[in-house]
């Protein structure tokens, strides 16, 4: 089996992540519900992980980091918290539904929403962004990297433009947390949303939101907090304001192990390897006449290790099914929960085949995947 859907979730992980979850399940109590050993072990583990995440993202303060169930949860918290009736919100056509749907929901409740279009390579235009923000935008929500094309947005340029016009910058780091350096302070990111189960190599069911000290994020859920139990409302200070109920400490223990691995390995090493694998794959298939590869491939710095392509007019699902059924190679086909990008590219019906590469893969596995695609291509055009 060759797994090429890391953009959906990591399949290959260091064994330490599984070991950490197992140990946590066997040893941890409920964090923040007692001062006895196993509860405090959980609290200390959560705190250490907050410190690591705060350092990773340049958040400046471990208390700025609250754990959530995934990036979708984080984005819902951010958008519901910041978008009210009359709020002027802007996003882009490259977004995942985890950004779009909460914004559409806010729009129904009175937020004014507009969407920045993409060029033919799926990129936003920074001059266009500047003039839009100049007209008055309260919140700009965008992805760091497209989950379809792998194009990376320049968050430092975006942050500068947002700073110029006083726009709150909310970043969806689903595809880049643990893969590309992000400094919230330098990029003027007010809210950063991330997931634990992709490039941070943690378990599913983990993620978080980092909120700058300059922003008040209201509670999204209310419930047990372990503190101020006689208050009828959720505490308003981070992270308790966001972490109602029992935190997934078992999962965060695994996330911590993933963070330790990527810190030791070096995130730029991981990024370079994944982009190199993507380029190796492309080199092996680009001779095929009817292959179309999407996205901006002008530089390695502007992208992550994702290749989106189509073979002629063949529906992408059919090729993905053949790769899985005949070759045991796993890729994603369809619209990848990014409907506006596909509308922009004219691929709403056909979708795209998405190959997303983990640094754990070998060169041989990538060559095998490319050769399998070539065989399917041969069958379609000469068989």
């Amino acid at each position: 089996m060759i797994y090429l859907d890391s953009a959906a979730t990591s399949y290959y992980r260091p064994i330490e992540v599984a070991d950490a979850v197992h140990e946590a399940i066997m040893k941890l109590g409920n964090p923040g519900r007692g001062s006895y050993n196993c509860s405090m072990s959980a609290v200390r583990m959560l705190y250490d992980t907050r410190v690591m995440l705060s350092d990773l993202f340049g958040a400046g303060n471990p208390n700025s980091v609250a754990f959530t169930y995934n990036v979708t949860h984080s984005l819902n918290i951010a958008i519901a918290g910041l978008c009210k009736e009359g709020t002027r919100a802007l996003t882009t056509a490259m977004e995942h539904n985890s950004v779009l749907r909460p914004l559409y929901k806010a729009q129904k409740q009175g937020t004014n929403l507009s969407i920045l279009p993409l060029d033919e390579q799926g990129r936003i235009d920074y001059d266009m962004l500047d003039s839009r923000l100049e007209q008055g935008v309260d919140i700009f929500v965008c992805t760091h990297a497209s989950n379809v094309t792998g194009n990376v947005n320049d968050i430092y340029k975006i942050g500068e433009i947002c700073r110029k016009y006083g726009t709150i910058f909310v970043l969806d780091a689903a595809q880049t947390a643990g893969l590309i350096e992000i400094n919230m302070e330098m990029a003027n990111i007010a809210v950063l949303c991330f997931t634990g189960h992709k490039s941070l190599l943690g378990p599913q069911g983990t993620g978080g939101i980092c909120v700058s000290d300059q922003i008040f994020m209201p509670p999204y859920m209310c419930g047990g907090s372990g503190i101020r139990s006689f208050d009828r409302e959720q505490p308003l200070s981070m992270p308790e304001s966001i972490e109602a109920g029992t935190t997934n400490a078992h999962g965060v223990a695994g996330l911590k192990a993933g963070l330790q691995y990527i810190t030791h390995k070096g995130i730029s090493t991981i990024h370079d390897r994944e982009v190199a694998l993507a380029r190796r794959f492309i080199e092996r298939i680009e001779h095929l006449k009817n292959i179309k590869i999407y996205g901006d491939w002008s530089s390695d710095e502007n992208r992550v290790g994702i290749v989106a392509l189509n073979i002629g007019d063949y529906p992408s699902f059919e090729i993905a099914d053949a790769l899985s059924y005949k070759y045991d190679i796993m890729v994603r086909a369809g619209v990848h929960c990014a409907p506006l990008l596909h509308k922009s590219m004219g691929t709403e019906r056909q979708g795209m085949l998405r190959f997303s590469f983990s640094h754990f893969l070998s060169d041989e596995e990538v060559d095998q995947a490319a050769d399998a695609l070539c065989e399917i291509y041969e069958e379609l055009y000469t068989g």
Binding site: P315, F317, E318, A320, D321, A322, Y325, K326, A333, G334, R349, Q350, G351, E375, I376, E379, G383
Partner: protein
């Protein structure tokens, strides 16, 4: 490795698709779960595809299964 015609059964939700797959396995139908083809407008993201020639067993299965629609003329490897 040739493409052949398949029949596809679609579902409202993924749970129904998985329930159908279990029934199909019990009936020893030769088929599999695939992504929903774009030519089909309604259904969740996955569907069940079986090779043509198993129509009578499928007919029996559809009497007890929860499904949305049945389509033919779907070509797969």
């Amino acid at each position: 490795m040739k493409r052949t015609e398949h029949i596809v059964v679609t579902f409202e939700g993924i749970t129904d698709a998985v329930a159908f797959e279990k029934l199909a396995n019990q009936e020893e139908i030769e088929g599999r779960i695939i992504p929903l083809p774009p030519v089909i407008d309604k259904g969740c993201g996955i569907c069940y595809a079986l090779k043509k020639g198993q129509e009578s067993r499928l007919k029996n299965l559809l009497k007890e299964a929860k499904y949305l629609g049945v389509y033919d003329d779907i070509w797969l490897f």
